[in-house]
Structures are given as C-alpha cells and as structure tokens.
C-alpha cells in the first residue's frame, strides 16, 4: 500500500522557515499570503499500514515538536 505522511511543526512553535517563505512571496509580487508553514513529506510503500503510526512516533516525526498526518493512497499512488 502506498502511503504519504505529512509532517508539520506543531501549532504555536516558531516556524522560521514558514516565516521566511511568507516574507519571500510578497517580494516576488505575490500579495495576500499569510500563515505559511513549511513541513516535510514522506512517501512510502508499506505492507502493513497499521505500522505507520508507530513509524511516525519513533522515527518519521518528533511528536514533541511535530504533528503528523497519515494518508493511505489508492492503487500505486
């Protein structure tokens, strides 16, 4: 099964990457951009999707500072 894990900085934690992107976009002429956050994307094939949560807790994310969201993709994704 193809799976996708989205990892984001937890709400309320300073996200300097997001802030830098938020400042850069208007500099390129894109107006009306707010609340930008930068995270990480992991895509993987897994035989047992039930293990994904444990993978996230132990390695893919640091639950202390990051939230994660698991998406199961249809077919080959």
């Amino acid at each position: 099964m193809r799976a996708r894990v989205l990892i984001r900085p937890k709400a309320g934690i300073l996200d300097p990457q997001g802030e830098a992107v938020e400042r850069a976009l208007p500099a390129l002429g894109f107006a009306g951009v707010a609340d930008v956050h930068v995270g990480r994307l992991v895509e993987l094939d897994v035989e047992d999707p039930a293990q994904l949560q444990s993978m996230c807790e132990r390695l893919l994310a640091n639950p202390l500072v990051e939230d994660y969201e698991i998406q199961l993709l249809d077919g080959s994704g």
Binding site: I13, L14, P16, Q17, A20, R40, L59, L60, N62, L64, V65
Partner: protein
C-alpha cells in the same frame, strides 16, 4: 578513568573531543556499529552531522548499535555528555528532555559565546568554579532567575544551525524547579533563540548532560584563546573517581 567517544558517519568533532578527554584521562573512539563500550567510565556523544542529519538532526543516530549500549549505560547511571549534534542525539533518544529546533535566524552561526554556569555542583560542572580556567563574576549580570547560583561564566565556541532549545512550558518549569538547567547563554548571547536562554540541560538523575556550544574546542589557549571547556571534562573525571557506573 577512561572516556569513550562515539563516532558516527558524519561526526566531525570526535577528534577534538578525544583530544580534550585525553587532557584529563584516557580516551578512545567507539565506532557507531559497535555495541561494546570497552569499559569506558564516561561517554561523549560528539558534534557533527551524524548520518547526514537526514530526517532530523540525531533522529537516525539515536538507533545506532552503539547508542543502544549508551542508552543502557545511561539508564544504569553512567555519565554521558552530548555536545551539539550529540545533544540532539540524546534528546532524540529521550535521555534528555526537549528538542533542538532550527535557529530562529535560519542561519548557521559560528561564534564565541559566553555561558553562565547556573548549576555549578553537577557531575559536569563541579570543576568550573573559581580558578584559573573560569572567571567568576559577581552581581546580576545573568538576570535574577530563581535558583540560579553565583555567576560562573565560560567562554567557548558554538557553531550550529539547529540549536534552538525547545520544550513546552510545563517541562521548562519542571526543569527549572529540578535544577536541570545547567547552562544559560549570558545576557545578549542567545543567538539561536533558545527558550529561557537554555544552552545546556541535564536529566533528572544528573548523569546525562547535553549542550550546544563546544567545550572540546576550548581546551588549548594557543588556538582557541580560552581553555574554559576543559572544566567540563575535568568535572566528569572527578565524578567518575567519586564513584560512577562503568560500562
């Protein structure tokens, strides 16, 4: 007394750590793939970019065979020092509370920093008191936080992109209450945005300590201008000689 200094693929400060440790005791390198800590009395997890810092700094190194032994060693009371990337590894391994996030500036920064030793009686700082290697300052230069003792200030270098110490508010309060905040950046020196100016923390038991700045780079006046880092290694030697667990 012998220090074991871990070496991961991507470590870059292990040789300086080895040299610093050898100024106060015996020391040898331990490759990340080994489980045998070779009778070391204390472990140093050095700086660098273990496993390329892929995913998150320290996230993969924390599962190295040598780290499994270090975790066991720490849980049985052995002394473990984590410097920079080593600090990140110890946080990822849950041997220390909190996490290291990207510098608020988003910049890699390399500079000499002044650190206030706010807990001078730990296994890692007891030799940092008044003497030729550290200057004691009086007054309230470092603020007047509850629990901070007399001012002992160290000058050692820091160099990192991911050094902003973070823990949630209740954890930070608990660290302060337990005296686990060992080092703070002196006023005006907190260049990475660490919460509550925290530069180094210990675990509750007091046998594991991590800091972002590099004491191993401040042991030779000729090349660093400061030997203030040596007292960290001397403290560990004293602690071991007073009775700590052997690997």
């Amino acid at each position: 007394m012998k220090f074991g200094v871990l070496q991961f693929p991507g470590s870059c400060d292990e040789v300086d750590a080895l040299d610093a440790a050898r100024r106060v005791a015996d020391a040898e390198l331990i490759w990340h793939g080994e489980r045998d800590l070779r009778g070391a009395d204390a472990i140093v997890v050095p700086g660098g970019f273990s496993y390329g810092d892929y995913l998150r700094a320290g996230a993969i190194a924390r599962f190295a065979p040598a780290m499994e032994s270090v975790i066991e060693f720490a849980r049985s009371g052995g002394l473990v020092l984590g410097i920079c990337n080593g600090f990140q590894v110890l946080c990822e391994a849950h041997l220390l509370p909190g996490a290291l996030l990207g510098n608020a500036s988003l910049r890699f920064t390399f500079r000499q920093v002044h650190l206030d030793v706010v807990q001078p009686d730990t296994a890692f700082t007891r030799a940092c008191g008044p003497g030729p290697r550290a200057s004691r300052e009086t007054g309230k230069a470092g603020g007047d936080r509850t629990g901070d003792g007399p001012r002992i200030r160290l000058s050692i270098p820091a160099k990192h992109s991911w050094g902003r110490y973070y823990a949630d508010e209740s954890t930070l309060d608990e660290l302060e209450r337990n005296g686990q905040v060992v080092l703070r950046y002196a006023p005006g020196e907190n260049f990475n945005g660490s919460l509550r100016d925290i530069a180094g923390v210990r675990n509750e038991a007091g046998n594991v300590f991590g800091l972002m700045p590099h004491p191993e780079h401040a042991v030779e006046a000729l090349i660093g201008g400061s030997t203030d880092g040596l007292c960290i290694f001397q403290s560990m030697r004293i602690a071991v000689e007073e009775g700590a667990v052997r690997a």
